[in-house]
């Protein structure tokens, strides 16, 4: 086989994926952009984009009323909940990933399976399960009152939404960090310890900087779906926390496709910029250090 035919075969094997990518990734993205920048009659316009930044509504809290930028507020709320969820996932997931990577092979595979099992269940069912647990008359409160610890009201609060997001996206944080940690050379940790580092120093000066790529992909994989989620907030937040995903869904079901596309487009651009910045920062850190 000469080089030419080998290259041809390589290209042919890539073809199905290329077709798939164009049909189901590139074309839909172009459609989103196209809808975002056109009006009902498919004439070019910036109206949808500017509406996102300028639309206002009046908030009435019983005593005073004030005017706010509707979608910016929704976006900031989404961002806040997503950042909190991501932070919680990271705080819980990082130590778990480390412990897993250092555990025996048997323990590792058991833990991996346990982490992945919830992913095999439908997302809606998982969210419904959390409703049953967190309701005022739910399993958690039943348990608490059986122990005479009183009841807590949690359904319909931001905490409930965060719990739902953390539960759903936790594996996406643990797995990339774990795969980096598992590849970490034990000799590097021994070398650090040999050079005078107590345990915490080894973590700070060797394990953490070397695991940053895993942390970054974990953050990306949790932050993005949690910022654009819409179902969790409706079910666990009792619809009180209207998030950017809910806004897109609302506009879409109201047959307002162009504005829905505009919101999705803006969200995408913001996320892309954030990710690029983060990546750049991490790269510089790795090189500089």
């Amino acid at each position: 086989m000469n080089d030419k035919t080998r290259r041809l075969i390589q290209r042919l094997t890539l073809t199905p994926y290329s077709v798939w990518a164009v049909l189901f990734i590139v074309v839909p993205l172009l459609f989103v952009a196209y809808y975002a920048f056109t009006d009902q009659n498919f004439r070019f316009t910036f109206d949808n984009i500017s509406r996102f930044f300028t639309a206002t509504s009046v908030v009435d809290n019983g005593e005073t009323t004030r005017e706010v930028h509707t979608y910016l507020v929704i976006f900031m709320r989404s961002l806040k909940l997503a950042v909190i969820s991501t932070a919680v996932c990271l705080l819980m997931g990082y130590p778990l990933a480390y412990i897993m990577a250092r555990a025996s092979e048997r323990t590792q595979s058991v833990l991996l399976t346990l982490i992945m099992i919830p992913m095999w269940m439908n997302f809606l069912i998982r969210t419904y399960a959390w409703m049953t647990i967190l309701q005022d008359t739910g399993i958690l409160n039943g348990f608490l009152s059986a122990l005479h610890l009183g009841r807590i009201h949690i359904i319909g609060t931001e905490s409930a939404v965060v719990i739902g997001m953390v539960y759903d996206y936790f594996p996406y944080m643990v797995l990339p960090i774990y795969s980096i940690m598992a590849k970490l050379d034990v000799k590097l940790l021994e070398a650090a310890s040999d050079l005078g580092c107590p345990g915490l120093s080894v973590l700070r000066r060797v394990i953490w900087p070397l695991s940053i790529p895993g942390v970054l992909s974990g953050i990306t994989m949790v932050l993005i779906p949690s910022i654009s989620t819409f179902y969790i907030s409706q079910k666990l937040g009792n619809g009180k926390f209207f998030l950017i995903g809910d806004a897109i869904e609302g506009q879409y079901t109201a047959n307002n496709l162009h504005f829905a596309a505009a919101i999705a487009f803006i969200l995408m651009v913001i996320l892309l910029v954030c990710m690029a910045l983060m990546q750049k920062l991490a790269n510089r850190r790795l090189v500089a250090a």
Binding site: S104, V186, L195, G196, A289
Partner: protein
């Protein structure tokens, strides 16, 4: 000389596998000591116990008169050069070397001075800003040495540091390591399975196998006066023959009675006799103590290595004269070429070249012991 490390009755097992069995060893200040043995002999484990990476099942490690059994690695005044260097890939050359000083919060200008000095010691001046992953094996090796020495440890542990380098570089680094050791006056404990490396660099060689120390001595001692068949075979090439000590200075083997320089054995005691291949003189058949037929010849540059069949036992002889296969030759052995050893459990296992092949020495150098140690630490 002052004792700096004392190993007292150290034993260590991984599961059912006894890696070290009641090891005792004194290591002196300013000494270049080598732990030499085949894969799985326990040498790396012993080094890791001194470094604090393994805890002995029993026994004590005494460091400058103090028991350091419970002391974690970061509190020991001992540093390690790891087998594959274990440099920090996220740090450049300067920061790798400065690593321990930053931990101790040494002032910045002091770090600058110490690191620069270390880098010039290992001939890496000008490499400060380079990424360690862009360096060659030999350069990485030097960074690893500088990183360990900048701490000014009392003892430097080196775990097969040269095994990943090619032959030429390995020879250069052997000389350089020895020079660094002399210049710094730090005790080096060096682990290797390469007998040539051990002989050329060490003040003291400790030959180990199967978790036991077989012999401790200077390189000439180890080579000229091996204690048993294992040592004789592992260090250099040896013809090891069954013999009987007839009386002091008189030993019989291969059907001939030889004069020798050994004494102090029982009457008619069965012994192992070592004759080094380079100590045998080839003479015309009728003038030899022994007679045999050449069965193979290998040209090795400086000399020929020939295998000679003498009554069914294959001898290896090194000679600068060419003798062809099937030639009948005589062997002449001077008294000082003969070394007599007590019988040991290794008797009969080594020293016959009937199945000899040069490749056999090269195969099997994958360090099983290290693999075991690694799988052990990940559990």
């Amino acid at each position: 000389m002052k004792k700096i490390v004392e190993i007292k009755n150290i034993s260590k097992s991984f599961g059912d596998n006894v890696v070290l069995d009641n090891i005792n060893l004194d290591i002196y200040d300013n000494e270049f000591i080598t732990l030499l043995g085949p894969s799985g002999c326990g040498k790396t484990t012993l080094l890791r116990i001194i470094g604090g990476f393994e805890v002995p099942d029993q026994g004590d490690v005494i460091f400058m008169g103090e028991n350091i059994n419970g002391l974690p690695p970061h509190k020991r005044n001992v540093n390690t050069v790891f087998q594959r260097y274990a440099l920090f890939p996220h740090l450049n050359v300067f920061e790798n070397v400065a690593f321990s000083l930053r931990e101790k919060r040494v002032p910045k200008d002091e770090i600058q001075r110490a690191v620069t000095e270390m880098l010039s010691l290992v001939a890496l001046k000008g490499f400060e800003k380079r990424s360690v992953t862009s360096l060659s094996g030999g350069q990485q090796q030097r960074v690893a040495i500088a990183r360990a020495l900048v701490n000014q440890p009392k003892v430097l542990l080196l775990d097969e540091p040269l095994s990943a380098l090619d032959l030429k570089l390995r020879k250069d680094m052997q000389v350089e390591l020895k020079n660094i050791q002399k210049a710094t006056g730090i005790t080096f404990i060096f682990v290797t399975h390469d007998q040539e490396e051990a002989l050329s660099m060490s003040d003291t060689v400790v030959v180990m196998t199967e978790g036991h120390i077989q012999q401790i001595g200077t390189p000439p001692d180890i080579y000229n006066e091996p204690q048993n068949a294992f040592v004789a075979d592992f260090i250099g090439e040896s013809n090891i023959l069954d013999g009987v000590m007839l009386e002091d200075y008189k030993v019989r083997f291969s059907g001939h009675t030889f004069q020798c320089l050994d004494k102090g054995f029982g009457p008619r005691e069965a012994v192992d006799v070592v004759v080094r291949p380079e100590d045998v003189d080839i003479v015309p058949e009728e003038k030899g103590h022994l007679r045999g037929v050449v069965t193979s010849v290998t040209f090795l540059g400086v000399h020929y290595e020939i295998i000679v069949d003498i009554g069914g036992f294959k001898w290896m002889i090194q000679t600068t004269d060419f003798h062809d296969v099937d030639e009948h030759i005589g062997l002449f052995i001077e008294p000082d070429a003969i070394h007599v050893m007590k019988k040991s459990k290794f008797s009969g296992m080594f020293g016959d070249y009937s199945s000899f092949s040069d490749e056999m020495d090269e195969i099997g150098e994958v360090d099983l012991e290290e693999l075991e140690a690694e799988s052990e630490t990940t559990k």
